[in-house]
């Protein structure tokens, strides 16, 4: 594996440090030997062909894999230096710091207001709820479109608006990291552009990790890119994902160091 050089000369503490990570589903190895650092207040894109383990890796960052029966993790995922898989760590607390936005917008069948307030209420938020809802909706670039219908059902919103509502809901609990699993793949081009613009604004305050099938999207929006690829065992036909290359997005898309990255991003396979 090759990594980007730190030419800045200063040491910036990563949000996540993944060390020798293996992920299994039952007895099947899904990801092997992943090592990478996620830097703060940047957008890190995870790209790779279908089935290479992109979403699996993303779900490791907030222990979402545990919701899948038989999933098991080896190695370490350090969040600000603390292993989130260490005994005694409560996954619910982890997920409070590390929010997630999914491929299909999944608002609750409640009002717009209640969707945004939901997490804060569970967490026993003591501040001004109206203010929190407004701030979160503004931050998600949705306020102007919904301010006069906060009590209306979230399900009446368009797909793009619903996705921005899910982002508002994620940031209302004031997380540190936002994980996004193909957040725009179900949206039209205009709604996609709005989400991409929003991500650029959000990275001022949050670290964002995004899985995307759309390589041009990764090239447009991310600061760093991780390329995952499927390795196949010839004798058993077993397949698992490995990290082939991780570096500055501009480098990955102009002069990738690994031939497999070169072939994948230029559409020579995959």
């Amino acid at each position: 594996m090759t990594t980007s050089d730190d030419t800045q000369g200063f040491v910036e503490r990563p949000v996540f440090s993944v060390r020798d990570l293996n992920v299994y589903y039952g007895s099947n190895l899904a990801l092997r030997g992943i090592n990478l650092d996620i830097r703060p207040r940047r957008i890190t894109a995870i790209i790779g062909p279908s089935g290479c383990g992109k979403s699996t890796l993303l779900r490791c960052f907030n222990r979402m894999n545990e919701l899948i029966p038989g999933a098991r993790v080896e190695g370490q995922v350090l969040y600000h230096g603390e292993d989130i898989y260490a005994p005694g760590v409560d996954p619910v607390v982890v997920r409070r710091h590390i929010g997630m936005v999914f491929q299909r917008p999944n608002p609750f069948p409640k009002s717009i207001y209640d969707n945004v307030a939901f997490g804060a209420r569970i967490n026993g938020y003591k501040g001004d709820m109206d203010e929190l809802v407004e701030r979160s909706l503004r931050r998600a670039a949705l306020w102007d479109e919904v301010k006069n219908k906060l009590k209306k059902s979230a399900l009446d919103l368009s797909g793009g608006q619903q996705q921005r509502l899910c982002i508002a809901r994620a940031i209302a609990v004031e997380p540190d990291v936002i994980l996004m699993d193909e957040p725009a793949s179900a949206l039209d081009p205009i709604a996609t552009t709005r989400i991409e613009d929003l991500m650029q604004e959000l990275k001022e305050d949050y670290s964002i990790v995004i899985v995307t099938h759309n390589m041009q999207q990764a090239a447009r929006i991310s600061d760093e890119t991780a390329f995952l690829y499927t390795e196949v065992d010839e004798t058993t036909s077993a397949r698992w994902g490995i990290l082939v290359e991780f570096g500055e997005t501009a480098q990955i898309f102009t002069r990738p160091k690994d031939k497999r990255t070169e072939d994948y991003v230029s559409g020579r396979f995959g």
């Binding site: 390589m215 102009t254 002069r255 070169e262 559409g267």
Partner: protein, 216 residues
């Protein structure tokens, strides 16, 4: 997945090689026209420049369309960026051959007054043509080693150019002044053709290594 785009890109690159061959031929003809004092040959160089310009514009247009429509990355991106630079160098080298041909048409460089520098001028022209040929070979094969060898050959061309200027200053007789000035210009044009050839080599190195230093 992107087969048709990659095929288009291959054809584009072949056209760059074709443009290179036209410019190399033009430089060679201009050199021969100069050595032989052949105004007919010089006229052919001037007329051939239209073909060079047309092909240059066509390649540039197609490369820009690919940038806009195909969003190329990695080696594809580097190839298109390199092509856009290379065709500009080739087109400029073609213009310089054109400028040399123009001077051949108005001046007879076989006059006895400039006899002392004639073989030097011929050497300069042949060296520039060879350098351009080497650069086009390096581009065709995307051969970084060949590209790196160009700088050395260019030093020889620069030496020849400096020597020519020195010798022109020493020419005797009032009749020599006009031809000497024109030969100084021609020497400069050949030297510039060599620089464009060196640039071509740099673009080959950029394409192969991805190092932006070779775009400058």
């Amino acid at each position: 997945m992107r087969e048709s785009f990659h095929r288009q890109l291959e054809i584009l690159d072949q056209d760059v090689v074709r443009l290179g061959a036209l410019v190399e031929r033009s430089t060679e003809l201009a050199t021969n026209a100069l050595i032989e004092g052949n105004k007919e040959l010089a006229r052919r160089v001037r007329e051939g420049d239209d073909d060079i310009d047309r092909l240059f514009l066509d390649i540039e247009k197609r490369a820009l369309a690919m940038l806009a429509q195909q969003a190329p990355v990695a080696r594809d991106l580097r190839l298109i960026v390199a092509i856009l630079r290379v065709v500009t160098d080739l087109e400029r080298a073609g213009d310089l051959a054109f400028n040399i041909a123009e001077l051949v048409e108005v001046e007879d460089f076989r006059a006895s007054t400039i006899k002392p520098v004639r073989s030097l001028v011929a050497d300069l022209g042949r060296t520039a043509t060879r350098l351009l040929g080497m650069a086009i070979d390096a581009w065709t094969a995307k051969d970084e080693t060949l590209a790196s060898a160009l700088a050395q050959e260019d030093d020889r061309l620069d030496d020849l150019h400096a020597e020519l200027l020195g010798r022109l200053v020493e020419l005797k007789g009032e009749d020599a002044l006009g031809p000497a000035i024109r030969l100084a210009m021609i020497g400069r044009y050949f030297e510039r053709i060599g620089d464009h050839a060196v640039n071509l080599g740099e673009r080959v190195r950029y394409f192969v290594t991805g190092d932006e230093e070779h775009l400058g």
